[in-house]
Structures are given as structure tokens and as C-alpha cells.
Amino acid sequence: MSALRADELEIVEEKDPELNEQQFESRTPWRLAWRRLKKDRVAMVSLGFIVLLILVSLFAPLLTALIGHGPNTQYTTRGLSLSGIPVGPGHNGFLLGTDDQGRDVLSRIIYGSRISLEVGIGATFLALLLGVVVGLFAGYYGGFLDSVLGRFMDILLSFPILLLAIAIVARFGPSLGLLIVVISLFSWPYIGRLVRGQVISLREREFVEAARALGASDLRIMFVEIAPNLVALAVIYATLLIPVNIVLEATLSFLGLGVQPPTASWGNMIAEAQTGDLFTVAWWFLVFPCVALVLTTLAFNLLGDGLRDALDPRYGRSHISPAKRVRRAFRVRRTPPAPEPAEAKA
């Protein structure tokens, strides 16, 4: 190849009237999306909440040490009144009160957030991995492979998840790892179908043909050319799937199939709280875990919505009022393959 022709280079750049450094500078897809997201106040508040939640769950031992109450310690003297009624919020140093066994509700919620995020993010990550790979193959190759994989995903999506989860947990015994695997097993087709659809349109794009003209293999086209274009979709729907999976975990724990007491999970806290009728006088140990669950799922949903707007400006819904978006977020939450949220029962 010829040596660098700097003189020619400069002339060319000067001559090009289309070139306007300021206009094209920093127009990377991600920077543009971040700029749009920053303007979206609802999404930014949600993001702040999620970051806070992640910090809380990471530093759970430190926080509970600061509070001075372990999550599983039963404060039978300080935490329960003489007649065995839990202590209310703000009394005896229990910020959110205690539960029926005299345990600190705040400490348990803090530890419960670890379970929720572990399962929510873990299961979503696995679902994403499986969904993207299967969706890529189904969408790229089409034909017979696509109909087989498509049918398989449809069947999984139409399965009564809870029944199957009960059977699997009954067979293998409850554990956190199993919980993650079972949940991801039923949520990946949701990602898989979306990815498949996207791949079907991406494979017709000219840059895929350009790669083919270079002699790139199918695998290379799928994972080097197409996959980077799925990242936005994956980020959006992962953010929307996390709350679904968090609710699913809560539901399974609520039914006694997930995290086993005394380990705190929002689901089993709610379950324990609503077994007796103590919550009619001591509402706090039922309501606060519910609030934690609702706020968390809401935050993820609103962030997911905001990401969708930011990454794909065609949606352009940021002008809708925050109240309407919150209402919409509740609606979105019920559409993915999740059972009725646990708190509805309580």
C-alpha cells in the first residue's frame, strides 16, 4: 500500500462540505443514548434507586452492623411487647419495626434485597445468554431450525410455570442455584423470541451482505456482525425481565419453594407475615417487604422504559407524564410470563 499521503488527505477533508466536525463528533450510539437517558427524569430516578439498592445489598453486612440488628436474630425482649405483639416502626431502635418473631424488619429487607437481586439478575443473565444464542440461530438460519426452535419456545411460554417449578423443586429440593436455573429456564424464550425477530430483519441488512462478500463464516456473521446490534435490545429487555424474575422468586419463596426460612427473602417475609392474623394489628412487617418489592419492580420497569426510549428514539415516549408512565409500568409487569405477583395474595 502506498505511504500516507498527508497533503492529499488535508485537501480532501477541506473540500468535503458534508464534513462538520462538531456535527459528527461524539455521535457514538452509546453516548447519544446516554445523553437522551439523562434528560429522562423518571428513568434517572429509577436508575438512582437501583444503584442504591445494589449498594445496599452489597454492603448488607456493614449496614446491619451499623443498625446493630442481625437479620435473623430474635429480639424477644426488646423486639416484642409483653403480649408478644411486634414493635412498631421507630420504637426501641427498630426503624421499620419487628416481625412476629421479634426480628428487625429493616435488616431482613436489606438481606432480602440480596436474594432478590441475585435471583433477578442471575436468572435474567442466564435467560439472556440462552435467549440470544437460540434467537440468533433461529433467526439467522430460518427454515426448519427456526420452526423447531420457535415451536419449542412457544411451548415453554405457554407452560404453567408454577406447576412445573413445584415439581422440579420437589424433586431436587429447594436451593438458590436451582431457583435461578428454574426461573431462567422459563424466561429465556421471552428474550429468544424478541432476538429472533430482530435477527430476521438484521440478516437482510447490507452490512451482513458485505461480511458475506468478504467470506465471513456464518458464526462470524452471527456473533461479530449481528450480535452487537442486539445489545440495545438485550439491555432493554433484560431490564424489563429482571423485575419479572424478582417477582417470580418472591412468588416461589412465598409458596415455600424458594428461599427457605430463616434466610430472609421478600417473598418468604410476606408469606410468613400473612400466615397469622397478627398483621391486622402490626401491619408494618407485612407492608414494608411488599413496598420494597413494588418499588424495586417499578424502578426496573421505569428504567427499562427509559432505556427503550433512549436506545431506540423511534419510541419517543419520554413526553408522556411520569404518572402515566408509572401506571403503564404496572401494566407492562403483568405481560411477561410471570404468575400473579405475590403481594396480590397478601
Binding site: M1, D16, T28, A216, R220, E225
Partner: protein, 369 residues
């Protein structure tokens, strides 16, 4: 029809070797739908095209939108399998090769795409896009790949420092330079340029054309240059092929066709070239504006496919398909597929008025400048 390898196209004497030969190439896309999803109809995108090309030449391929130019380009480069016919590249029949066998040939046969926006992956950095040819075909160290990519960028007039930018950070002209760099990377002998400038601003078109011309001289490239109007092609090609509805209607040396076009369709295309090129339109040429839409390639007209729009059409045109052949008085290599080729001095615009009744739908109308 087939152009024999005697070289009706040969400009240069000496070698009889063609770099590329297309022999009655056909591509039909089945139309989906119909009862039980079975298809009987097909889009006859390319319907029997033959030509040959010598190393170092530039063949301009011209025709209206939808006439099958891009499809032909993809058949030549082996991106689509042919329905029938043969494409020989350096004497090797590529239509019978499997995709894997085709891979080594990709090095010497590249394509520049029509859409500078669609042909670059929006989610990959330019440095990464341009390193593709090397990672697919050669085993080089990262540093070496980077060096070569930056060299390439410099050669096509891009700043090598923009290595880490995304395509969206470049203008249309710069993106087309990236596309050209990618095609050039492996030093191919043939580059098919599919309307490389039609999406660009006129002022930038010239820059890109000049770049392509420089590169041709520097790297001994052979081009197939696709365009939908003749004015762009004139500057870059020494041979022309005019395509209409999946078929070649006229082909020959560029200047010969400009000065002495024989096919009414070519004449109408020529009459439409912009003012700047009017010098090349001889006195006799009045502006001929074709009316009527291009007929559907699913069900092309019988006989001569141009007959519903042709100002010279007669009864026989609807029945008998004209062969692509040398017409009397033309030099070797100038072939025309027409029963009634245009003769010098003929006023086509008038002919259109006289034959309007005969041609039925969509007669050509005359506009006197």
C-alpha cells in the same frame, strides 16, 4: 445469447483471456404466496445476461431502478446462487462452487455497496470493520492489522486517527470511502461498485469517482461500475452495458455508444443526461422522456421487453425477441438487441408520435428543449 470468447468486446489485442465471463446468467426469485404457499410466479430479476470483461477494463452497467443491476452484481460475486447460466472468474466457473470453495476467490473479487449507511455495521468501530478482511483471510498480529488498516484509511483519504470512530461519526462521503477501503483491503483484481455515488451529494460524487480512478491505476483494478444514469458512468468506464428488465439491450465501447447509440432505450437514457454533458449528445437528439412504469419483472412483456414503452415499436416487436447482436455498420463489440435500431440522424421523438397508436400503453413523448 452468448458472446463467443473470440472477443467481440476486445479492445486491446493480445491476450484472449477474460478476467470475468458471464454466460447466459439467469436469476429468478420465487414469489411467495399463492394457494398452499406454493409459488409458480418468479421475479425474473436477471434473465439471460452474457458479457465478458478483460483485466484493467471498467464496465459501466446502466439501467433504471429495479432492472436487476444489483442482482447481477451479486451473481457475479457469488453472493446469490444463479438460477442457471455460468459465471467464470479467471477461467474458473464460480457458479458450481460451494460457499467454502468460494472463499479464497473472495480475496480477488470485492464489492462496494450502494448504501454507505446500510453497508457499514452501525455498532462496530471503523477500525474493527476495516480489519475484517484481514481477520477473515490472513493471520496477522494485532499491531500489523492496525498498521494496515490505518494505511488503508490514509489511502482512501480518511484520517487514520479516526480508527476508533463509529460509522455514524462520519459523513456519507467518508462512509463510502470506508466501504471502498474495505473492498480494497485484500488487493482484489475485480471490484464491483454498486452505485457507489448515487446516495451522495453531487460535489462529493466527483471526489469518490476520482478516488476510484486513482485506485484503479495504482492497483490495476478491474471495475464493474453500476449506475442508473449515464452521466456518472461516462467518466469512469471504457465499456458500457445497458440493461432493461433483466436483459442487456446494448453494449459496446463507451464513446461508441455515446456517439452512436442504436437501441431506442439507450437513446432515451442518453437524451436525459444533464446539461453539462450535452456536448456528447449529437444534434439529432431531442429529449425523449419515457412514460409509463417499468413493467413488472414477474411478468415481463412478450417479445422485446421494451416494446410497451418504445417509440419505434412495431407489431413484430411484441412477438419476436430481438437478439443481442452486431448491427450493420457498427464496429466489433457494439451489440444491440433491437429489430429496428436507431440510425444516425433519426428523430426519435417524432417517431414516438407516429407510432403512439401502435405502441399502446405508455408512448414516449417529446420535449423540445
Amino acid at each position: 445469447m452468448t458472446v463467443g470468447p473470440g472477443g467481440v468486446f476486445s479492445r486491446a489485442e493480445g491476450t484472449d483471456e477474460f478476467l470475468l465471463e458471464a454466460d447466459d446468467v439467469v436469476k429468478h426469485f420465487p414469489v411467495r404466496g399463492g394457494a398452499f404457499g406454493r409459488s409458480h410466479a418468479a421475479v425474473k430479476a436477471v434473465d439471460g445476461v452474457s458479457f465478458s470483461l478483460r483485466a484493467g477494463e471498467t464496465l459501466g452497467l446502466v439501467g433504471e431502478s429495479g432492472c436487476g443491476k444489483s442482482t447481477l452484481a451479486r451473481l457475479i460475486t457469488g453472493l446469490h446462487p444463479v438460477t442457471s447460466g455460468h459465471v467464470r472468474f479467471k477461467g474458473q466457473d464460480i457458479t458450481s462452487l460451494q460457499r467454502r470453495q468460494l472463499r479464497p476467490l473472495r480475496r480477488s473479487m470485492q464489492m462496494v455497496f450502494q448504501d454507505p449507511y446500510g453497508s457499514l455495521n452501525p455498532r462496530r468501530r471503523v477500525g474493527s470493520i476495516l480489519s475484517d478482511p484481514f481477520s477473515v483471510h490472513e493471520h496477522l498480529s494485532r499491531a500489523e492489522v492496525r498498521r494496515r488498516v490505518q494505511e488503508l484509511m490514509a489511502r482512501v483519504g480518511l484520517s487514520p486517527e479516526h480508527y476508533n470512530r463509529f460509522p455514524s461519526e462520519f459523513s456519507g462521503g467518508q462512509r463510502q470511502r470506508i466501504g471502498i477501503a474495505r473492498a480494497l483491503a485484500l488487493r482484489p483484481s475485480l471490484i464491483v461498485c454498486d452505485e457507489p455515488v448515487s446516495a451522495l451529494d453531487v460535489s462529493i460524487q466527483a471526489q469518490i469517482l476520482n478516488l476510484l480512478e486513482d485506485l484503479q491505476a495504482e492497483f490495476m483494478l478491474t471495475y464493474i461500475f453500476i449506475a442508473h444514469d449515464l452521466s456518472v458512468v461516462r467518466h469512469v468506464s471504457n465499456r458500457l452495458a445497458v440493461m432493461y428488465l433483466g436483459k442487456l439491450v446494448e453494449t459496446g465501447p463507451t464513446e461508441e455508444i455515446y456517439l452512436n447509440s442504436r437501441h431506442p432505450y439507450t437513446a432515451s437514457l442518453l437524451s436525459a443526461v444533464p446539461v453539462a454533458d450535452r456536448a456528447f449528445r449529437s444534434e439529432r437528439r431531442e429529449r425523449i422522456i419515457l412514460t409509463g412504469d417499468v413493467p413488472s419483472p414477474v411478468d415481463p412483456p412478450s417479445g422485446c421487453r421494451f416494446h410497451p414503452r418504445c417509440p419505434k415499436a412495431q407489431a413484430v416487436c411484441a412477438v419476436q425477441e430481438p437478439a443481442l447482436e452486431r448491427k450493420s455498420g457498427d464496429p466489433d463489440g457494439h451489440l444491440t438487441a433491437c429489430h429496428f435500431p436507431v440510425v444516425a440522424g433519426e428523430a426519435l421523438a417524432n417517431a414516438s408520435r407516429e407510432t403512439a397508436g401502435v405502441t399502446g400503453s405508455g408512448p414516449a413523448e417529446a420535449v423540445h428543449p
